[in-house]
């Protein structure tokens, strides 16, 4: 099978009337195969791993990295430590979540889209790329849900 493929590719390359579109197409196909091979290698080597937020100090660092000078003073970690909620002294609230082997954060400015289900809180920041996130905050979920209501809707205080 691979011999036939090599023959076909060789015949294709040898054609003097080969068009540039065909050359670009063949190069692109070959590139995509290489890309998939490298992606599979990265997976096989288990690169990326299973990153978690180590502790509150780590979450505070992540918050400061997202918004310079955020200075979080109240932090609750998801039980699996894949996300966190952080609040600073100005009352600004940051939602932190895992993204691959790194973390991203987005500010919560509205209580729209926030749903409480016993110990879990589902949050949306209004940023479509960031998406919705469900955090298991234990007993703290209800406390956060109550305080998040004070955000109002789209920046209008409740």
């Amino acid at each position: 099978m691979s011999g036939k493929l090599v023959e076909a590719v060789t015949a294709l390359i040898a054609r003097p009337d080969i068009g540039p579109a065909l050359i670009i197409g063949a190069q692109t196909l070959f590139s995509i195969l290489l890309v998939i091979a490298l992606w599979l290698l990265a997976r096989a080597l288990r690169l990326g791993g299973d990153v978690r937020i180590a502790d509150a100090a780590h979450a505070a660092q992540l918050a400061d990295a997202a918004i310079t000078g955020f200075d979080a003073h109240e932090i609750t970690l998801d039980r699996a430590r894949i996300g966190a909620l952080a609040r600073n002294s100005e009352g600004r609230i940051l939602l932190i979540r895992r993204h691959g082997a790194r973390f991203v954060a987005s500010e919560l400015t509205s209580h729209a889209g926030i749903r409480l289900d016993r110990h879990t809180l589902t949050l949306e920041t209004g940023d479509r790329q960031f998406g919705a996130l469900t955090l298991d905050l234990g007993a703290e979920a209800q406390i956060w849900a109550a305080s998040l209501r004070r955000l109002g809707v789209q920046g209008i205080p409740a």
């Binding site: 540039p20 670009i24 190069q27 692109t28 590139s31 995509i32 290489l34 890309v35 490298l38 992606w39 290698l41 990265a42 997976r43 080597l45 288990r46 690169l47 990326g48 791993g49 990153v51 990295a65 997202a66 310079t68 000078g69 979540r97 993204h99 691959g100 082997a101 790194r102 991203v104 954060a105 987005s106 790329q129 960031f130 998406g131």
Partner: protein, 309 residues
């Protein structure tokens, strides 16, 4: 004999251009494999398969986009050369001169790409990975041509530099920049760090730390940053965090390639008439109502906090 062969090669490169990038691809692939093995042993989070896939597909798409528009760019350079005001001879020292000039033009382009949102919209995808590895080097733009980025590199044709020389030195410049995208190399010897762009200098360029924002635009020679006061050295007490000020949080190809263009469109649509153009030509992060931060504002806030401490 060798000198004659080299002279012939140089002459042919000047006439038709010698694009070394395709020849470098096997080395790129091999280097990525080696770096992945290094990462598996020393730093497994240096790579993330989803991020790598996105970066490499951006590279593939960029190659396709480049191949489609190469003819138009060659025509533009050819037109300039046909109307040239002088002729630069093809000699060994003019090759060196053209390489240095092209690297300076790269510096100008790159600095503009970070300071003018129109150009940033095309360049931002290269910075949108939160990882810094050799696959990040291949995370290239699909929209460089419509952004007219090539204008920074072809103008010397009007002053008599053969378009083939520009293509050849531009390709060498691009290939050089591949290896600086790694965390596997710490610091190079001092003399090398003083003159050349290195992994350490370029890590700073990809950083989101306030200290490092919008610094080290160099392609091959770091001297441009030193000359124009945009140089900042990497510091061991301020480890680099990679990506962009507002991280994308997605590996979606469409988002990576086009998100900033879409954001410009939204901003211009919503902005009052007098402010619309600002969203296109002013610095990324600029808003007419001050509701977002530019890199200068972030750095100023950080410096203020440092002074308070």
């Amino acid at each position: 004999m060798t000198a004659a062969l080299l002279a012939d090669l140089a002459q042919r490169a000047a006439t038709s251009g010698l694009d070394i990038v395709p020849f470098a691809v096997p080395f790129f692939v091999l280097a990525i494999v080696v770096e992945m093995v290094w990462a598996a042993r020393h730093n497994p989070t240096a790579y993330e398969p989803g991020d790598t896939l996105t970066s490499l597909l951006m590279g593939t798409g960029s190659t396709v986009a480049g191949a489609i528009v190469a003819g138009t760019i060659a025509l533009a350079a050819g037109w300039l050369y046909a109307h040239r005001v002088a002729t630069v001879p093809v000699l060994w020292w003019t090759w060196i001169g053209v390489f240095v000039l092209d690297d300076f033009n790269y510096y100008l382009f790159h600095r503009t790409a970070h300071r003018v949102r129109w150009f940033w919209a095309s360049h931002v995808n290269h910075h949108s990975s939160q990882h810094y590895n050799l696959s990040t080097a291949l995370r290239q733009s699909w929209t460089g041509f419509p952004a007219l980025s090539f204008a920074f590199r072809i103008w010397p044709a009007y002053f008599g530099v053969a378009p083939g020389m520009l293509l050849t030195v531009g390709a060498i410049n691009l290939v050089y920049q591949f290896w600086v995208h790694t965390e596997a190399v710490g610091r190079m010897p001092r003399w090398f760090e003083a003159v050349m762009n290195t992994p350490s200098h370029h890590r700073v360029h990809h950083a989101t730390n306030p200290r490092y924002l919008d610094r080290n635009y160099a392609g091959v020679f770091i001297v441009w940053d030193r000359l124009f006061r945009t140089f900042t050295p990497e510091r061991d007490d301020d480890p680099v965090r990679y990506g962009i000020v507002h991280q994308l949080g997605t590996f979606s190809l469409g988002t990576v390639a086009f998100h900033e263009w879409a954001a410009i469109g939204r901003d211009m649509w919503r902005a009052p008439l007098g402010a619309k153009l600002g969203y296109l030509v002013r610095v990324p992060g600029w808003t007419h109502d001050g509701s977002r931060d530019t890199s200068d504002m972030i750095r100023a806030r950080w410096l203020e906090a440092q002074e308070d401490d």
